[in-house]
Symmetry: C3
C-alpha cells in the first residue's frame, strides 16, 4: 500500500509489508510519545476528529497523537451531528468537513459509513470505528503489542501461540486481529467461548486456509495452558437483545492470578481491548493481575498512541521529517518517575 494520502478504512488493506513499514515507523515515534523528545513537524496541520458516536479514549488517543506531532485538532462529539438529522447525506457532510482539515479521523455507529464518507472527502480519512464493521487502528495496535511483547521474549510473530477468550462472535476487535494474524506463519490459535458466542466460521476458515492451526473449545483452563498470549475480551452486553442472557456468561471466562499461576506458562502475556469491567460480579480480568508484569493491557493503550502517530506520519508523508523538526523536552517528564 502507498500510505501517502491513503484512506485507512479496513484491516484488509494491509499486507505484511505494510504492517512492517507501519511498525518500524511506530518504533521511531516512541521517544516522542514518551516525551523524551518533542517534534513540531506537523505545526500548522489540522486534524478533524469527527466522532459521531462518543468514545473518550479513542478520540483522545487520536487527538493526542496528532498534537504530539505538532498539529492542531478540531473535534465533534456525538449527539451534536444536527445536520445529519436534517437529512444531509454523508457525502455532503464529507465535502464540507474535509475543507476544514488536512486529515480526518471518524467514528460513526453505522457499518460502512466511514467508507461512504471517505469516498467524497477531499482529505485522507481514518476509520475510528464504524459500528460492528471495522476499527483498524485497534487491530494494528494489538498486533504491534504482540510483536513487542514477543520481541522482549526473543521471539517473532511467526510461530505465535495465542488464545482468544470471551465473546468471539460480536467482538469486532478479535475479528480484525485474526485477519491481521493470518498474514503471518505457523500460528496456533485457540478460540475459547460459549457456543452461542463462538467465532464466525469465515474467520476460522481463513486461518486454516492460510496454514494455521485452530482449536475451538469451551474450556478456559486447558486453552491457556500452552500459549504465548491470552487475549481476553469483554462480553458486550449491548450486543444482546435479551440482557439477562448476558448475565449467563458473566464471569465464566474470568482470569485471575490464581488461575494464571496454576495454568499458564511463565511469562504468558495477557491482553485485553479495554475498557475492562471491574465490577465485583463481572471481572474478565481480576484486579489481582495488576501487579503481574505480563499484564500488557496498559502497554496496549500506550502503543495505540504510537501506532496512530505512525499512521499520521505516513499518510501525511512526514515520517522522514519527524526527527528533523525535533527538540528537547523543557518540562518535567513524569514518565521518568514511573518507568
Amino acid at each position: 500500500m502507498n500510505f501517502t494520502g491513503a484512506h485507512i478504512l479496513s484491516i484488509e488493506q494491509f499486507d505484511r509489508d505494510d504492517t512492517e513499514k507501519l511498525f518500524r515507523t511506530a518504533d521511531r515515534m516512541e521517544p516522542y510519545a514518551q516525551r523524551r523528545r518533542v517534534t513540531r513537524v506537523l505545526e500548522g496541520a489540522i486534524l478533524g476528529n469527527m466522532f459521531f458516536e462518543p468514545s473518550t479514549r479513542t478520540r483522545i488517543s487520536f487527538g493526542s497523537a496528532f498534537n504530539l506531532l505538532g498539529g492542531e485538532v478540531r473535534e465533534s462529539v456525538g449527539a451534536e451531528s444536527s445536520s445529519l438529522v436534517k437529512g444531509e447525506s454523508l457525502r455532503d457532510t464529507a465535502r464540507v468537513l474535509s475543507g476544514y482539515s488536512d486529515l480526518i479521523c471518524m467514528r460513526h455507529p453505522q457499518a460502512g459509513s466511514v467508507a461512504e464518507f471517505a469516498s467524497a472527502s477531499r482529505v485522507p480519512v481514518i476509520n475510528g470505528g464504524d459500528g460492528s464493521n471495522e476499527h483498524p487502528s485497534q487491530a494494528l495496535l494489538d498486533l504491534y503489542t504482540i510483536e513487542k511483547e514477543l520481541q522482549a521474549r526473543g521471539r517473532p510473530i511467526d510461530g505465535l501461540r495465542i488464545a482468544m477468550i470471551g465473546d468471539l462472535r460480536y467482538g469486532r476487535t478479535v475479528h480484525s486481529l485474526i485477519t491481521l494474524l493470518a498474514l503471518y506463519r505457523n500460528l496456533k490459535v485457540v478460540l475459547v467461548s460459549p457456543p452461542e458466542l463462538k467465532m464466525p466460521e469465515k474467520y476460522v476458515e481463513a486461518l486454516r486456509t492460510a496454514g494455521h492451526q485452530v482449536l475451538v473449545t469451551e474450556n478456559l483452563e486447558e486453552s491457556i495452558s500452552s500459549v504465548d498470549i491470552v487475549y481476553s475480551t469483554r462480553i458486550q452486553e449491548e450486543r444482546f437483545q435479551d440482557r439477562s442472557q448476558a448475565d449467563l456468561y458473566r464471569g465464566r471466562f474470568r482470569l485471575n492470578q490464581a488461575i494464571y499461576t496454576r495454568h499458564c506458562e511463565p511469562n504468558t502475556v495477557i491482553m485485553h481491548p479495554l475498557p475492562r469491567d471491574s465490577r465485583a460480579e463481572a471481572n474478565e480480568l481480576d484486579a489481582d493481575l495488576d501487579s503481574n508484569p505480563n499484564l500488557a493491557i496498559f502497554r496496549q493503550t500506550d502503543n495505540g498512541l504510537i501506532v496512530r502517530m505512525a499512521l499520521f506520519a505516513l499518510i501525511l508523508d512526514v515520517d522522514q521529517l519527524v526527527d528533523q523538526y525535533s527538540g528537547d523536552v523543557r518540562w518535567f517528564n513524569p514518565r521518568a518517575r514511573v518507568l
Copy 2:
C-alpha cells in the same frame, strides 16, 4: 467601519467599502486555507468558540480558520451552559469568558443575545448566529462566493440577476444576503416561494428603494430562466408549529439537472446555504447536480473558511503580517490531488 477590535454582530454594520476590504483580505487568505502556505501570525492567541447551541460546521469552520492563522481554540458546545441555567446573566457570562481569550465567536438560540453578550465583553465578539436574527459571516461568505463566481465569468456584482428560492419568510440567510446585495447597483432579484413563505415586505422595499428590480413569483421554472445565480434554500421544518404543513412545500421548489438544462442559461451558478436535505422525498437540490461544475455549494463552505480567516485577521489587526510569518507546507497536501 474600523475592523480593529470591532464586534461583528450584524450585516448592517457593513457598507460597500467594508465588504471590499474584507474580500480583498480574504483573497490573500486563500493560499493558507488551501494549505499551499502556512502562517503562524496568531501563534499564542486564543479564540473562545462559544456555541450555546450546537452547530458542527459553523463551529469547526471558525475554529479551523483560527488554527490556520496559527492560533489556539477553546470551545463550549450546547447543553453544557450550566451557569446560564443557574440564573447567571449574559453580561456576567461575558465578563468571565472574555477573560479567557483574545476573541470570541458565539452562537446562541436567542435573538439579540450575542449583542447583549458583546456589550459586556472585554474582547471582540463575532455573531455566529443568534436565533432567527443574524449570522453575518454566512451572508458575507455568500456574497464573496457570488463575487468570485461572477468574476470567473468576467462580470462584477453590479448588474447581477439572482433568483432566491424556497422559504424566504423564515430564512435568516436570504434576509441577510439581500441586505448586503442592496449595497450594489442595478440588480434584478427574483423571489420564488409559496405565498405563506414569501419574503417579508421590508426587504422587498429596501431593494426597490435602492433602485433594484424585484420580481415576486411562485413559478420556479420561469424564475430561473434568465438569472446568473439560483440561490436555493431549504424549508426549515423546525420553523413550523404544525410539522405536517412543512410537508406541503417539500419538493415543490426542487431543482435537478433536467430542470436546470431545460430552463437555465448556460453556466448559471447554483448556491445553497447547506445542509441540503438529500432524502428521496425532500430534495431541494438533487444529487444529479453534483457533477454540474456550476454547482457552487461546496465552494461556498470553502469560502466560509477564507472569509472567517479574513475577519479574524482584520479584527486582530494582523492582516498585514500574515505573509511575514508564513512558511512552506511540509506535509502531503491532499488538495493538490483533487484541484
Copy 3:
C-alpha cells in the same frame, strides 16, 4: 510542598510557604494572562482536561491557562464517559488517560474520585472539583484575590477582617477558603447564614484553635459594617432535597449598593464565587453594584487564570523558563482598550 510533579488534590496540602511561592509565581504570569507578552515555554506539552461533570468556566479557565503557556489541550466533557458506564474502574481509566497527556485536570461528581484517579495516574493530576469535597484552585484564586485587593489598600492578609455570607453549610468554596485563611494571623471572621445553613463546627473550631476571632450571626447589616472583605455566596438550590425550602432563603442575604453605602466602610471589597444569580427574585449581589470599583468578582475569575498558569508552571517545573521563551504580542490587545 515540592510542586514539581505533584498532584494538587486538596487545599490541605498547602502551608503558608506554598501559597507564598504560588502567588509570587502567579504575579509573574500576569503579563502573559493580559496578553502584554506571549510565552511558548510549554510548546509541545499536552493537558488532559477531563471534565466528567460539565463546568464551562472552570474547564475553559484551565484550558486557556495551558494555552497561554504554549501548550495544547485535549478535552472530555460530561455525559461522554461511556467507559465508566461499562464498569471500568477509575484506576483503569487513569492508567489509560494518563498516557495521553503531560498533566491532567479533572472534575468528577463523586467525592474522593479525583484522588483515586490520581493514585493510578502516571502524570500529575489537579483536582478541578470532586463533588462536595474539594476544588483547590478556586480557594487559591480567592486567597490570591484577597491578597491583591488588600495590597492595593496597603495591607497584608494578617489582620484581615472578612464576612462570609449565605449558604455556609454546603458551600465547598467557603470551607476551603477558611482552611487556607487559618494559615494566616489575627483574622476576624464573621459568618452570616440562616441557622439551617451555618458553617460546620469543625471549620469554626479550626479557626479558633489557630487564634482567630470568629463571630456567628444571622444579621447581614451588622456583620458587614466593619470588615475589609464581604464574601457572598449563592444558595445552591441543588443541595436541598426540598426545593421549596431553598426559596425561603432567597434574597434574605442580598447585597445591593444602597445597603453597601449605608453599612460598609469605604472600599470594602465584595467577592463572590461566580456564577451569580441575576434573576429579579433571587439576587445575591444586585446588578447596581456593577459600577462599584470595589466589586472584585470579575477580578477573581481573571486571577483564576493566573493562579492556574502558576500551578501548571510549578508542577511542570518551567516557572523559571517562562520569560526565556517569551515574545511580543503581534495582534490587537483588547485589554489595552478597557484597562
